[in-house]
Symmetry: C2
Subunit: 246 residues, 2 copies
């Protein structure tokens, strides 16, 4: 059983580790992880680790073009931007080259991120988890003591099905679930009424079915997708908290 | 180099194999693969293989609840619905249980799909490829002679970045690229004008940058996401071809 065999490590100097996960790609997981990190970074010491080996998004979301430095040739120094300590596989490789990596290489990359980054003393480390439930997700859940996971979904059944699989995976590896965020919940049209382009009710369904809190619903808005293309997370330029109604 | 070592197999009785790929999840790859298969299925013998091991969508998109049969305990018979021969890992496992599979198990599942399905004589086999560029995608590109790949993207940079990685991967494994489809290109609002919710220009950028054909642009529409929740691909109930302007 995946539960018992592993002695999970903690990362020194890091108080709380929060995983942002979705199992299904393209639901806004990286965008939400980036904005949570920037918002928390206004009052705490926060790190953000991009664990999506095959499709790293943090370099684009934060507009980081430089490579991380190393003092001893072994440990990597995170890159600081918008008051967040950042690390991503995307910093280490060319943007266009595919990570044509099989399982074992993925695992050794994850171990490097877990053991060999100089995070300095952090209140929170946010991990933007890889989609799917394969090698990368399994290794993180087994290697690292994660204090809580936030599940991101869109309202449609296809996303809810994948989110449920992701939740099962966390249960099997003993990771507590903090709640679910429904993203792209609706669009406000010209008459100021809600248009449910991607169906509705997915977040609520997961919340009721799995007995976890629905932390918030985020509308579809051009400013969010524009902020990704413009390389500045929305929360950096905004103040009120659109992410959670907690 | 991934190119030279592999003797790629053809699947007996299958004339053409077309891969639908996106590298980034959640861009509409499975929805497009399902609709291309249903549309082609009106005039040809068509199969659809769901290769997304960690997040199979075909069971939901076609509303298939039964398990595939086998005559000899080794080879699987595809399930036929809306005049398409279907096979998916989702038919073999419970909907909610995560495929907590590491690399080697993924590879053996793919080999089963490539070698042990009784497809009967097909004009086209459409493969809904897994997102990412890990074990699953590598194994397919190296094992199987794919006649052409269609790349699906949304307009945003994050999707374009991943699509470019996927294209690189196909170039490395000698898979010809037929073109790119941009999905969720715009939304028609109350005044019948286009609203570019997810930015614009991604499909064109890939087309120009990689010298591949832009096969079409698909608007965001409730009827598409509703068709996924309702388990009937849109092209089954419609006639004109919204997918490509070829
Ligand atoms: N609520 C939203 N409204 C508009 N665009 C969004 C929203 N959430 C995410 N996006 C956009 O959708 C794309 C996919 O988001 P991303 O964070 O990469 O998803 P994931 O990490 O789940 O793959 C990005 O370009 C992002 O800007
Ligand atoms: N053009 C579109 N308009 C509205 N919804 C769409 C559109 N394309 C896809 N969808 C919806 O988006 C969700 C994700 O699509 P899916 O095919 O699962 O993407 P992928 O296979 O890339 O992960 C599905 O619920 C689908 O119905």
């Amino acid at each position: 059983s995946p539960k018992s065999q592993f002695v999970k490590k903690r990362i020194p100097n890091v108080k709380k580790i929060i995983a942002i996960s979705s199992a299904k790609g393209g639901v806004g997981k990286s965008t939400i992880a980036a904005n949570i990190a920037v918002e928390l970074g206004k009052n705490f010491n926060v790190g953000l680790l991009d664990a999506d080996i095959y499709g790293p998004s943090i370099p684009q979301l934060f507009g980081v073009k430089e490579k991380p430095t190393t003092d001893d040739g072994k440990r990597l120094n995170p890159i600081i931007k918008f008051n967040v300590y950042l690390m991503s596989i995307g910093f280490l490789v060319d943007e266009k080259s595919p990570m044509v990596w099989r399982g074992p290489m993925v695992i050794s990359a994850i171990k490097t991120f877990v053991n060999n980054v100089n995070w300095s003393s952090l209140d929170y480390l946010i991990i933007d988890m890889p989609p799917g439930t394969g090698d990368a997700l399994i290794t993180f859940s087994q290697e690292l003591e994660i204090d809580g996971a936030i599940i991101v979904t869109t309202p449609q059944k296809l996303s809810v099905n994948d989110a449920m699989r992701g939740i099962e995976m966390f249960k099997k590896t003993n990771v507590p679930i903090l709640g679910v965020i429904e993203n792209m919940s609706y669009l406000i049209d010209e008459n100021n009424s809600k248009r449910f382009i991607f169906s509705k009710g997915g977040g609520e369904m997961i919340s009721k079915n799995q007995n976890i809190k629905l932390l918030g619903q985020i509308p579809i808005h051009e400013s969010i997708s524009k902020s990704s293309d413009d390389e500045v997370p929305l929360m950096h330029s905004m103040n009120e908290d659109i992410i959670t109604n907690e």
